[in-house]
């Protein structure tokens, strides 16, 4: 009776325990059981998600490394590759927002480093409940400070991200961090423990009792009970990580390493078993040699500790002293803790005695794979029953526009990114505050466009369409900055996958994303799944965050959303429909979460993006901004604010409702501004691409006015607009 409890307490089921018994042919000891429990946790084993993830397209001409390694890698020419990944740190951030978010950033940086890349940019996707709640304000300010605290100190610019507020995240905020690195193709590293007899070296921080069972904690729903069980909180040390980055890059540059692996979730257990398993080797490690922060850590604690800022190096014996010399110069502790063996077994010693002996592959690869049941949730039918005709027509469009602009989800995010050093490394050439951020690549003409996107209101209403839109919008943001999409990394934040309704959402979202990735030619090269985002049984909206990287062949061709010149013609690319389902307008003004998300035709989207890309690279376009939350009126207001210029716009009503025309969120639309001489070129392009384009007004003056046919619906000065938009979050936070 008592014994049955041990594995259950560690989060393993009876069947899983039986699998361990069968695999080992004996009972595991306590240390081994602990190692299994963390490696077979959802977080490490992807046991509920693995099958569904197979739907993603993962290959492409430029893909050098798809999912499976520490991060995806894509060829960008000039012997260079870009390496990127996004990861969640939701549960730790709910407990200790500053350190939870900070260590999330630290963790994703080490993933990029493990590929041999120099981390050059950070992004983050954040979701919270309402800022009216003091607890949410505490979480929000702590998370932002933690992200800044880590990124600023280590000197990697935080160049973008997104921020949403919705009551579904009240008790379960989402904190997803993305890191982007650059690597010379010859220096690409892998987390492989190849070469029998090679040494295993642990470098960086010493090991303490931090975060033991962190991954198990991340694989459960949050509740009072889980909070009691929570592991001791990990504290980040960005200074140590800065040294670690510099030292590892120097080791790689000098060709001293055979393999490189970060220590993250499941600590030493994961790093040793994964590197050995990938290479088909075994490994012996001696815990007496692991530098400890406190005395008397047990083997169980050492193997499961999630102490931050550590890396595992696989090194040929002849290079050991050189490796030590480099680490020492950077002020880092490095210790040889073991060696690579040929028996495919991970053997752990302490006091010359074996304390664990497990096939590496069994830990890393042989967790059971589940095929959870998927069932369409009942709410889908209820909410999709929505008759637009019953919605009262708009009365005061000025008021609505100001209300939308001052809602935290749409308002300026400067309160957030102003706390991040987004300029360090002097390569950020489109700062936060436009559609995608752009960094230049030194010694080339190229640039990288970076964004994260997901409108979870859409994915809630229809996970398939919502998933498609998340990818399409990310790509649209990339193209608006003048780049072409390269590839995707994704962070799938969902509730408990053991609930059929949740798993249905999960599958549908992946189907939609996969379809969009295929059509838009942006394969998925890596990502992360975060399940169990529930608090006391109530799940968050399905939130499949898309991180996307695009390439600009010539960084001088970059484009921002800001209106640039008086007299420029404003052109709307794409079609508007009577669509208000899932819109911010419906949510904020009518307090409704109803209907279907806007429809998306991937063919239309592709035509739009192709057209826009060509127009921007021909130098015809002066500004481009995609239409998203808040629709056309909000997008126009944002272009005006960023450029400090007004606009006069006239729209044709045709068979549209005025509210749908102004605030609807129909997809595949972009506003561009263009000098009149460029019009013929743009029209020609559009005809070729089969794209609807309409000149809707011109840039100028100090107000934004929008007429629909003969009636003026919006007339606001840029000052008024900016005031509503600019200080919302700062005010709520002071």
């Amino acid at each position: 009776m008592k014994e049955t409890k041990i594995w259950q307490e560690m989060g393993l089921t009876d069947t899983e325990y039986q699998l361990i018994l069968d695999g080992l042919g004996r009972e595991p000891n306590y240390v081994e059981l602990g190692m299994f429990s963390v490696m077979w946790s959802e977080h490490c084993s992807y046991k509920h998600s693995r099958k569904a993830l197979k739907m993603f397209p993962t290959t492409g001409e430029r893909v050098l490394q798809g999912p499976g390694e520490n991060a995806g890698v894509v060829d960008i020419g000039d012997e260079l590759a870009v390496c990127f990944k996004i990861e969640s740190h939701n549960h730790p951030s709910a407990i200790e927002p500053y350190q939870g978010a900070a260590t999330g950033v630290g963790g994703i940086i080490r993933d990029i480093l493990a590929m041999g890349a120099r981390p050059v940019a950070l992004l983050n996707s954040l979701r919270f409940g309402s800022l009216d709640n003091p607890r949410v304000r505490h979480l929000f300010s702590g998370v932002v400070a933690g992200i800044g605290g880590y990124g600023n100190c280590i000197g990697i610019p935080t160049v973008g991200g997104e921020l949403y507020f919705n009551s579904c995240y009240e008790d379960n905020p989402l904190v997803n961090a993305m890191c982007v690195g650059l690597v010379n193709k010859n220096n690409l590293m892998k987390g492989w423990a190849t070469g029998v007899g090679n040494l295993v070296i642990l470098v960086g921080a010493s090991t303490g009792r931090d975060g033991i069972h962190g991954v198990t904690f991340a694989s459960e729903e949050l509740s009072e009970a889980s909070e009691k069980k929570r592991p001791s909180v990990q504290v980040g040390d960005p200074f140590m990580e800065k040294l670690l980055v510099e030292a590892c890059l120097e080791l790689i540059e000098n060709n001293y390493l055979v393999g490189l692996q970060d220590l993250g979730g499941a600590g030493l257990t994961c790093a040793t078993s994964e590197t050995a398993s990938r290479a088909g080797t075994g490994m012996e490690i001696d815990l007496d040699r692991v530098p400890l922060r406190e005395k008397n850590l047990t083997p169980y604690e050492i193997m499961l500790s999630e102490s931050q800022e550590r890396m595992l190096l696989i090194v040929e014996p002849s290079k050991e002293s050189k490796v030590m010399e480099v680490c020492h110069r950077w002020g880092l502790k490095a210790t040889t803790i073991g060696r690579v063996t040929d028996d495919q077994i991970l053997k752990v010693y302490q006091d010359r005695k074996i304390v664990a002996e497990v096939p590496a592959r069994m830990l890393a690869e042989e967790a059971p794979i589940y095929s959870p049941l998927a069932l369409e949730p009942a709410y889908i039918k209820e909410i999709s029953d929505f008759n637009l005709d019953k919605l009262p027509e708009i009365v005061d469009a000025n008021r609505v526009l100001l209300a939308l602009l001052s809602s935290p989800t749409i308002a300026s995010k400067e309160w957030v990114y102003g706390q991040y050093d987004y300029m360090v490394r002097t390569s950020t050439v489109i700062h936060p505050g436009s559609d995608a951020a752009v960094i230049r690549i030194r010694d080339t003409h190229k640039g990288l466009a970076l964004t994260t996107d997901c409108n979870s209101l859409y994915t809630y209403l229809d996970p398939y369409v919502g998933g498609m839109i998340a990818v399409a919008e990310a790509a649209r943001n990339i193209v608006c900055s003048g780049a072409r999409p390269l590839a995707v990394t994704d962070c799938l934040n969902f509730g408990n996958p053991e609930k059929p309704e949740i798993f249905w959402q999960f599958q549908k979202a992946i189907e939609g994303m996969s379809e969009a990735c295929r059509v838009l030619q942006a394969p998925v090269v890596g990502g992360n799944v975060s399940f169990y985002n529930e608090r006391n049984g109530s799940p968050i909206y399905p939130t499949p965050t898309v991180g996307m990287v695009g390439l600009l062949e010539n960084v001088d061709k970059r484009c921002t959303q800001a209106f640039k010149k008086q007299g420029d013609i404003i052109v709307l690319l794409g079609n508007s429909y009577n669509e208000l389902g899932g819109s911010q307008y419906l949510l904020q003004v009518h307090h409704l979460v109803k209907g279907k998300p806007p429809a998306l035709s991937l063919e239309q989207e592709k035509a739009l993006q192709e057209n826009l890309y060509q127009a921007i690279s021909q130098g015809v376009i002066n500004s481009a901004h995609d239409l998203s939350e808040g629709g056309l009126a909000v997008a126009l207001a944002e272009c005006c604010i960023s450029g400090g210029l007004g606009a006069k716009v006239v729209l044709k009503k045709e068979d549209l409702r005025v509210d749908a025309l102004l605030f609807g969120e129909s997809q595949s639309r972009v506003i561009v501004s263009i000098k009149s001489a460029g019009i013929p070129a743009l029209w020609q392009l559009a005809q070729k691409n089969g794209l609807e384009v309409n000149a809707i007004g011109y840039v100028g003056g100090e107000s934004l006015t929008i007429k629909v046919d003969d009636r003026e619906w919006i007339n606001l000065t840029i000052k008024e607009i900016e005031q509503s938009w600019k200080n919302t979050i700062a005010k709520l936070m002071s």
């Binding site: 400070a145 800044g148 605290g149 600023n152 100190c153 280590i154 000197g155 040390d237 960005p238 200074f239 140590m240 800065k242 040294l243 950077w330 002020g331 990114y417 102003g418 706390q419 991040y420 050093d421 987004y422 300029m423 360090v424 490394r425 002097t426 950020t428 050439v429 700062h431 230049r440 030194r442 960084v555 001088d556």
Partner: protein
């Protein structure tokens, strides 16, 4: 004419200063490791921004005990040109090469943004190329840039024209609203009595190329080159 950029553990704007000198100014420049203990052959030293030693305890407090700092002090005492940017400024005050201290920003938040600077003294090696009324647009990125000095100290700074940069509006008005961090007297940069050591919180090395949003930082480097050429 050779520049040296000092690299402390945790420096992270070393690269930016280095690139500016090398790729924009096209002058010789070398990194100088904090454990080095010779500074022969350099005409100007840059102490870059970043978080030396994690900025633990106090910003710059630990870095000033690096072996190289003894050499920097001697270099400065011999009249060598030293430019401390952000964390470099903090280190110079900790080392006693510049008066005053940099406290936490008034509202405790880190700020990354462009600011405008009024130039209070254009007769220094770092500012001689700047027209007297010119307002510089240069970014800041710091959590501890709240300059403080006691009254006597401030009076002496003013008397000796050691206050070099003050936070101002784009029009050049020195005001509270233009002050990002609560710095006393809106002070953004000060110079040593002898005029050869400048510390400033804003990052001129981030304002040296059009595509970065401003080239006003070049005025400071151009002044340095001017001065060194005339020597």
């Amino acid at each position: 004419m050779k520049f040296g950029v000092i690299v402390f553990p945790g420096s992270n704007c070393d690269l930016d200063a280095y690139h500016l000198v090398k790729d924009v100014l096209r002058k010789p420049v070398e990194y100088i490791w904090h454990q080095q203990n010779s500074l022969k052959g350099y005409d100007c030293l840059i102490l870059p921004g970043g978080f030396s030693y994690g900025d633990y305890l106090r910003c710059g407090a630990i870095a000033r005990f690096s072996p190289i700092m003894q050499e920097v002090v001697e270099f400065a005492n011999r009249g060598g040109l030293v430019l401390g940017i952000c964390n470099g400024f903090q280190i110079l005050t900790e080392a006693g090469l510049l008066p005053g201290v940099l406290l936490r920003n008034q509202d405790l938040k880190f700020y990354c943004q462009f600011v405008h600077l009024k130039v209070e003294n254009v007769n220094t090696p770092f500012t001689n190329f700047i027209e007297p009324q010119k307002i510089l647009k240069i970014p800041i990125a710091h959590g501890d840039g709240n300059y403080y000095i006691d009254e006597k100290g401030l009076n002496s700074l003013l008397e000796k024209k050691q206050v070099i940069f003050r936070y101002a509006t784009a029009e050049g008005v020195v005001s509270d609203e233009a002050n990002p961090n609560g710095a006393l007297f809106n002070i953004a940069g000060v110079i040593s009595e002898k005029g050869n050591v400048l510390g400033m919180m804003p990052h001129p090395e981030r304002a040296g190329e059009t595509l970065l949003g401003s080239t006003d930082g070049l005025f400071i480097f151009q002044s340095l080159l001017n001065y060194l050429e005339k020597l």
